[in-house]
């Protein structure tokens, strides 16, 4: 912790950045914080409750953040993967942000707890099982102690396997029930570090591609489109699902996409921005099975 606070203090003191974006202890667990003064750097924390993906704050359309000036961002593995996505897709400049990497051995499901819970098979966020980044590589400074692999097993993959084992009708019934609660509030989109479009497709009206009414037709159109747009880009941070006010298990969709992209393109999202995503690369050996 001291190492993190000292690094932030130095960056602000030396004028290298104007704001350090990290986590602080709030009244209800931890939350993102924007530290603009070296004197406030002792507010910065990092522990198992730091679930938020801070790369969302680098979205250049968030002018209220950009106006604070050049930022240093505290990144764990999934944040670094999202920053790499923004670089890969030319949304930000590498020298426009300082990345303070923190070693991460997994996080819990919710940031709301008075103290950092110990990571166990019960408390660990299920997405951490699919993450192999204990030490982010896309960093300017790296802090924190070496971390063990997250505990737990592939409960997420087990749930997907159970869904895959269903017939199409049963699977459709499952998603019909889950998506019936969607109010199309788009909290999933707003929490996503890779949903940075100036004008989301759901907001386009000439023509209107997706019905904004939260009825089954509109909800399926929205979630299917969002899934397609995130295939091979989603970093699996699970923030969309956490943001959802009605508990739609969006992580099942995201994890399934990761599996499909791995199978079809032998690609896993990493924090190396030099490796192109399948959507942005051409390879002569790309599978063409889908062309009938």
């Amino acid at each position: 912790m001291t190492e993190l606070q000292d690094t932030a203090r130095r960056l602000l003191d030396e004028g290298e950045v104007k704001v350090v974006i990290g986590w602080e202890e709030g009244r209800r667990g931890v939350r993102p914080v924007f530290v603009t003064s070296a004197a406030d750097c002792d507010r910065l924390v990092f522990d198992t409750r730091c679930v938020h993906n801070l790369a969302t704050f680098l979205n250049p359309r968030r002018s209220q953040v950009a106006s604070l000036g050049k930022a240093a961002l505290v990144v764990k593995g999934c944040d670094a993967k999202a920053v790499a996505g923004l670089l890969r897709e030319a949304q930000i400049e590498r020298d426009g942000v300082v990345l303070i990497g923190v070693r991460c051995g997994g996080v819990v499901g919710s940031p709301v707890a008075p103290d950092a819970p110990a990571l166990t098979a019960e408390t660990v966020a299920s997405r951490c099982f699919a993450c192999d980044v204990r030490e982010p590589g896309l960093v300017d400074v790296l802090v924190g102690d070496a971390q063990p692999e997250p505990p737990g097993s592939g409960t997420l993959d087990e749930r997907i396997a159970a869904l895959d084992a269903l017939g199409p009708d049963e699977r459709f019934a499952f998603w019909t029930n889950e998506l019936s609660r969607c109010t199309q509030c788009y909290a999933c989109r707003q929490a996503c570090p890779l949903c940075y479009c100036e004008r989301c497709i759901v907001e386009k009206t000439e023509p209107q591609w997706i019905e904004t009414s939260p009825h089954p037709r509109g909800n399926f159109a929205w979630h299917l489109t969002r899934a397609q747009h995130l295939a091979g880009r989603c970093v699996g941070c699970g923030e969309c699902e956490r943001a959802c006010p009605v508990g739609i298990p969006l992580a099942l969709i995201n994890r399934k996409l990761q599996q499909v992209v791995l199978e079809l393109y032998d690609y896993t999202v990493s924090d190396d921005p030099a490796v192109p995503a399948p959507i942005g690369a051409y390879a002569t050996d790309d599978t063409q099975d889908f062309i009938k």
């Binding site: 709030g26 009244r27 209800r28 667990g29 931890v30 939350r31 993102p32 914080v33 924007f34 679930v51 938020h52 969302t56 359309r61 968030r62 002018s63 209220q64 953040v65 106006s67 604070l68 819990v108 499901g109 919710s110 940031p111 709301v112 660990v124 966020a125 299920s126 997420l156 499952f174 029930n177 889950e178 019936s180 609660r181 109010t183 199309q184 509030c185 788009y186 909290a187 989109r189 707003q190 929490a191 907001e203 019905e211 904004t212 009414s213 939260p214 009825h215 509109g218 699970g238 923030e239 699902e241 956490r242 959802c244 006010p245 009605v246 508990g247 739609i248 298990p249 969006l250 992580a251």
Partner: protein
């Protein structure tokens, strides 16, 4: 989380969708009348003779009887879904208001329902009318009529929101759909135990047993609920289902226990927030450009989850959706001032150009604009906005911070 509850949750029927048929109102039958008790939190129980007793078992078969009779009964219920996959937002099983049909679904007094009761009066989406072109003529079909509905065991903060939103819905026009649903619905609240430290009903002129908007109230006592009716609608419901409502086993002891429950809850919530609304309003009125607002915007995702879960946020968008060539529907859907496009002009100009301005709007509408116009606040202190915010925006903390600035200005 108990295993029993989890099983109940998993095995209960899927959530009954809020269909238009279940809750839609009609232009033709709406008379604009709104029956709502405008009473403050009563510390004095009603005369003992008027209180009835509803055992937990009787509540179960009351709900089953209503379902069998085709009367929608809305109550807090275990969430009928598969559960979050990436990790939950809390350990306790989630609950939701929905039309219930069986005792096993009921989750009265458990975790606060995810969305407020608002969805049964202003649904996330509803048909205003449908149209069909027949040659040169256009045939219009109005929305379906509101159905008689009863709400059992809603939180007082959710119920109090109804008369608060009534004022908006009957200001520059009478919203026939809203009013028809209000008139067709009988609402029994449930004295609240107080959820957690995000609750602040007592700081917005209410309390955990507030009567505002309630036709009747349930208060937990040994073996069930002490039931009081405050309006003709509430009394009529109790009379119509007299077999479910018994005499209190021990009127004096039961009433004392109910009052003890309410008093403990009042004490629990009182420390969560205390603000002086007069000086807070004055401060808001004179600090449109205060640097304070720039401290709130950066953290905000601009998702408007706060508005989705809010019992008093009532903004909507109207869309026309073609169903095929020459026919379609006009719908209204929830909207929120927290999104960028809410105020985006066709010219490209946006008068609320960033999240600092949008968050200021949220606070100023609730604690300045609405109070100046309608003399109340557009907030019932349910705390859902704080709990649901993915980035930890905290309404009680923000109001405390503004009140402190207001106190400084006043001194």
């Amino acid at each position: 989380m108990s295993d029993t509850k989890k099983k109940k949750s998993a095995s209960s029927k899927a959530a009954t969708p809020v269909t238009d048929a279940a809750v839609a109102g009609t232009a033709s039958t709406a008379d604009g009348s709104v029956v709502a008790a405008q009473v403050a939190d009563a510390s004095e129980p009603l005369a003992l003779g008027e209180a009835r007793f509803l055992t937990s078992e009787a509540l179960g078969w009351l709900v089953e009887g209503l379902a069998a009779a085709g009367t929608p009964a809305v109550a807090p219920a275990w969430a009928g879904d598969a559960g979050r996959a990436a990790g939950g937002v809390g350990d306790a099983p989630e609950t939701e208001y929905r039309v219930v049909s069986g005792a096993a679904e009921l989750a009265l007094g458990e975790r606060l329902p995810r969305l407020s009761l608002k969805q049964f009066f202003l649904p996330p989406t509803e048909v205003l009318f449908s149209y069909k072109r027949n040659g040169a003529d256009i045939e219009l079909t109005p929305a379906q009529a509101a159905r008689d509905t009863v709400v059992l065991g809603a939180r007082p903060c959710d119920v109090a929101a109804l008369p608060i939103v009534d004022k908006v819905m009957n200001w520059d026009y009478a919203d026939e759909l809203w009013n028809a649903r209000r008139a067709a619905t009988t609402v029994f609240s449930l004295s609240c135990k107080v959820e957690d430290d995000s609750c602040f009903c007592s700081a917005v002129f209410l309390g955990p047993a507030a009567l505002k908007g309630s036709d009747g109230r349930l208060t937990p006592v040994d073996g069930g609920y002490l039931v009081e009716a405050f309006t003709d609608k509430g009394a009529a419901f109790v009379a119509a289902h007299a077999d479910a409502f018994a005499d209190l086993p021990d009127a004096s002891a039961n009433s004392a226990q109910a009052e003890q429950f309410r008093a403990a809850a009042r004490e629990r919530v009182a420390g969560n927030l205390q603000v002086d609304h007069g000086r807070l309003r004055d401060w808001l009125d004179h600090h449109f450009d205060d640097p304070f607002w720039a401290s709130l915007g950066p953290r905000c995702n601009g998702c408007g989850v706060c508005a989705s879960v809010c019992p008093t946020c009532h903004c909507f968008d109207i869309v026309d959706e073609p169903e095929s060539v020459g026919s379609g529907v006009r719908r209204r859907n929830w909207d929120t001032c927290q999104t960028c496009v809410f105020t985006l002009h066709a010219s490209g100009h946006n008068p609320r150009g960033d999240q600092n301005a949008r968050y200021r709007q949220r606070i100023e509408h609730k604690f300045l604009a609405y109070p100046l116009k309608f003399g109340d606040v557009l907030c019932t202190g349910c705390g859902r906005c704080s709990r649901a915010c993915p980035t930890g925006q905290d309404m009680a903390e923000i109001l405390t911070a503004i009140d402190a600035r207001a106190a400084e200005d006043a001194s």
